[in-house]
């Protein structure tokens, strides 16, 4: 069973979202997602300052097995990206919820964050997908 921290929000497409004190949101992919992908070898992060709609593809993650899009969990502007992923994409495998963060966003619609899944809802979603 994969690790699903209770304090985070999640999307159906397996991103996690953490709300920071300054109002920005940090985004990564869940432990379940990294397990499915296997060893990661490249991460193509978005440009700082670019804007995305909720659900728009904004990053690409490639593992030995497959390429996978990362979707913006909410509408907003990218404020920072994890530059370390260029050299060490495997930190997403080893530490998906901390060092494996992908980018931060400044959301433009507060309500979109509130609509994201809780850990319990995401857990049920993962279970449903597996069966």
């Amino acid at each position: 069973m994969s690790n699903i921290p209770g304090e985070l929000r999640y999307t159906k497409s397996h991103e996690w979202v953490r709300k920071n004190n300054d109002g920005t949101l940090t985004v990564g992919i869940s432990d379940h997602a990294q397990e499915l992908l296997g060893d990661l070898v490249f991460v193509d992060v978005p440009d700082v300052g670019s804007t995305f709609d909720q659900g728009e593809d904004c990053a690409v993650i490639e593992s030995v097995k497959a390429a996978s899009d990362v979707y913006s969990p909410v509408t907003g502007e990218v404020t920072a990206v994890n530059e370390d992923l260029a050299d060490t994409p495997e930190v997403i495998n080893s530490d998906p919820y901390n060092d494996g963060w992908i980018f931060t966003l400044k959301p433009s619609e507060a309500s979109e964050f509130d609509g994201l899944m809780s850990a319990d809802e995401y857990s049920a979603h993962v279970e449903a997908e597996e069966h």
Binding site: G38, V41, F42, D44, E62, V64, K65, A67, N93
Partner: protein, 360 residues
């Protein structure tokens, strides 16, 4: 539920991720495919390849039979135990399977064929064998482990103890029998090592002994990136019944001489050789970011002209590599359509890596 090798429970206990592979439940990795890959390049890893099919062919006319059955010439097998890689072709010159044949005695040759092609291979071999009076016996009583890497032989020798003396001077691409075990210095990784056939009843103990000796278990994921780096084709992906060896980078496995040897598929192959086959299989190397994938389209001179047959990430090079079937005229570079973007790639001659070192 798929078929299981005698090592199935061992894999599950080692926390392998099991996947369906041609009807078999096989380990794809035991944690990290990339670590397993490096383990084989730098030290020693082992693969359960018990799903592969060992076939013993016996009879007075077995050599004559194989001379006709295979595109490579078994008359190249002059020393006992010597192995030969060959394609087995259909009447159109397409590849039914690729396989290894071992010369055991003048009335006994052993063949190892792919698991996914088991039924059609056996049907074909049996059909052709009839008129030669050759007996075809499938050795499902044998399991097989491949131990590969620069320290693989030393570690196997340590496990075998005094019995390993028989292996000290074994040549590359030779097999030796040690009791009811057959040890071949062959493999599918580009590293030194052995492929070991042994009774099903003994394989779990032998695997545990290899583990104790420091040989790490490796899954089919690492096996695939290792063989791709080593420039070795995968049947069903890089060639099949619709493609000839000449279009599959396997021209070197066809024995044209002596011209009088008739083998199945010879005529259409000769025709193709005279007219020049329209396609060739080449290696591709991507310097930028991203991973080349099977079935991505290859663009030459602005035209969609070919396709990647096997693409992946090379852990040794840290770059994406691939085999692609492209027009014969393709030069030193081309483009690949990667998720809608045309990326420049170099055309190279495989292998990409041999014995731990980059060769491109």
């Amino acid at each position: 539920m798929g078929q299981r090798t005698p090592l199935y429970d061992v894999h599950v206990n080692l926390k392998a991720k099991m996947v369906d592979f041609g009807g078999w439940d096989m380990p794809i990795n035991y944690g990290s495919q990339i670590e397993e890959h490096h383990q084989v390049r730098k030290d020693a890893g082992m693969f359960d390849v018990s799903h592969m099919v060992v076939v013993d062919l016996t009879g007075d006319k077995v050599r004559e039979f194989l001379r006709y059955l295979l595109a490579n010439n078994v008359d190249r097998l002059k020393d006992q135990g010597k192995a030969l890689y060959s394609c087995m072709l259909n009447e159109k010159g397409g590849v039914i399977d690729d396989l290894i044949t071992y010369y055991m005695t003048e009335t006994w040759f052993r063949m190892v064929v792919n698991a996914a092609t088991r039924e059609k291979d056996l049907a074909w071999i049996n059909k052709q064998a009839e008129s030669y009076g050759v007996d075809v016996k499938v050795r499902d009583d044998l399991a097989m482990i491949a131990v590969q890497g620069p320290t693989a032989r030393d570690k196997v020798h340590a496990v075998l103890g005094s019995k390993s003396q028989a292996l000290e001077d074994i040549g590359v691409f030779f097999m030796r029998e040690i009791g009811d075990m057959a040890v071949a210095r062959t493999g599918y990784t580009g590293e030194d090592g052995y492929e070991i056939m042994l009774p099903v009843a003994d394989v779990v103990t032998f695997w545990e002994q290899l583990l104790q000796a420091g040989v790490k278990p490796c899954g089919l994921g690492a096996r695939d990136t290792l063989r791709l780096e080593a420039g070795m084709n995968l049947y069903g992906t890089d060639m099949d019944e619709e493609t000839s060896p000449l279009e599959s980078g396997l021209g070197w496995t066809i024995a044209w001489e002596p011209a009088g040897r008739d083998f199945i598929g010879r005529k259409p192959l000769e025709q193709q050789r005279e007219q020049g086959s329209s396609n060739k299989l080449v290696g591709l190397l991507l310097d930028g970011k991203g991973v080349l994938r099977n079935h991505q389209k290859v663009v030459v001179d602005g035209l969609e002209a070919g396709e990647i047959t096997s693409g992946s990430f090379s852990p040794t090079l840290g770059k994406a590599i691939a085999f692609a079937r492209v027009p014969k005229s393709t030069g030193e570079s081309c483009k690949v359509d990667m998720r809608g973007k045309l990326m420049d790639v170099k055309v190279v001659k495989p292998p990409f890596v041999r014995q731990g070192k980059a060769c491109i």
